[in-house]
Amino acid sequence: MTALVVFTHPKPDSFARELLEATVEGLTAAGHTVTTVDLYRDNFDATLSREEWRAYPTTRPMTADERYAALVREADVIAFVFPMWWSGPPSMLKGFFDRVLAPGVAFDLGDTGRVSPGLRHVRRVAVVTAAEPPGHFSHRSTRHLAHAFGRSLRRATGWRTRTVVCWAGPGEATSDDAKREQFLARTRERMATLR
């Protein structure tokens, strides 16, 4: 079994990095071969160009990065590890969706414009994220948005895939070491159940 972990955080020494490690450990324990993609380290270009946009509905779509596309094609589990900014993923990760999950990889557009899912082989989508700064919104609504992020892949995966969310609330992502540890352990356990 193959798992792809897409990691997005500008700082190499952040809490998100620890989350990444916990995610990889968990998935390895579940028996997956894990490949990690670090978008910031790879200096991924997040902007979808005009040429790509024009090629979108044609029979010869473009994919931004063949290596990434190959990893997506063979993944059984895709996990995203990122900080939540403004209710959504960082622009870098959004760019990964826009450019890598193009027609020919994530879905196919038939002659009639019908979308046929291209990610049926993905059985689980995992979202591992830490919350926005405290005092913004209720825990519930933020967790809901982490789910919504994972669910945006539903059409491409053929509606069957379950989204698993590990979400650290403000209290857990801030300075308290014990709570952080607790959350990391929870993430590790949760990921180990993804088969």
Binding site: W86, G88, K94, G95, F97, D98, R154
Partner: protein, 198 residues
């Protein structure tokens, strides 16, 4: 009082439907006597990526990021925010998400409160938000896939503005299969909305 409109527009193609919407908004704003500034993110070659350096400076004053100063100035100037973009994967194109990540910074859109650690709203002047977007697929599919992009504007950006800010969200669904009639009708809806808002 004439409105000060900041129009943030993101679409890679100048011949697209979104570009037509942009021109419509520019025309109506001018007709209504509003001042308008345009951030055409693709044309400006705006880099969406919040760098490690900017991440380190996220709590710093805006002076620490001189390369973004013209953007900060426009955000500080406006009292109406208009977003025009196509919805891709339930959300804003990366370049627009990058604008939100980078330009709505500390000291511009929010102030960090030292005692509570909360981000306090700083766009007090902004009393109108209009988001105009197009979806390739139907309303049903978009509901089932979640509406994460809507939350970014209607929840996160809205929160930074004046407490009496009116936020309006207007979307055209099934653009890929739409007819000329449907697209024109949507243009009229946008026009009516802007007549009321500006």
């Amino acid at each position: 009082m004439s409105r000060k409109v900041l129009l943030v527009y993101a679409h890679p193609d100048a011949t697209s439907y979104s570009a037509a919407l942009r021109d419509l908004v520019m025309r109506i704003a001018t007709e209504r006597g509003a001042e308008i500034r345009l951030h055409d993110l693709y044309e400006r070659g705006f880099s969406p990526v919040l760098s490690a350096n900017e991440w380190t400076l996220r709590g710093a004053a805006p002076d620490a990021k001189p390369h973004l100063a013209p953007y900060f100035e426009d955000v500080d100037w406006c009292d109406t925010l208009v977003f025009i973009y196509p919805t891709w994967w339930s959300g804003q194109p990366a370049v627009l998400k990058g604008w939100i990540d980078r330009v709505l910074a500390n000291g511009v859109a929010w102030n960090l409160d030292d005692t509570s650690g909360h981000a306090m709203p700083a766009l007090r002047k902004v009393t109108r938000i209009v988001a105009i977007t197009t979806h390739g697929r139907s309303r049903t599919v978009n509901r089932l896939c979640g509406r994460a992009g809507r939350a970014t504007i209607m929840r996160s950006v809205r929160r930074l503005c004046s407490w009496r800010c009116r936020a309006r969200w207007i979307a055209l669904y099934s653009l890929d299969r739409s007819t000329r009639f449907e697209r024109d009708r949507f243009m009229q809806r946008v026009e009516r909305l802007l007549q009321r808002t500006l």
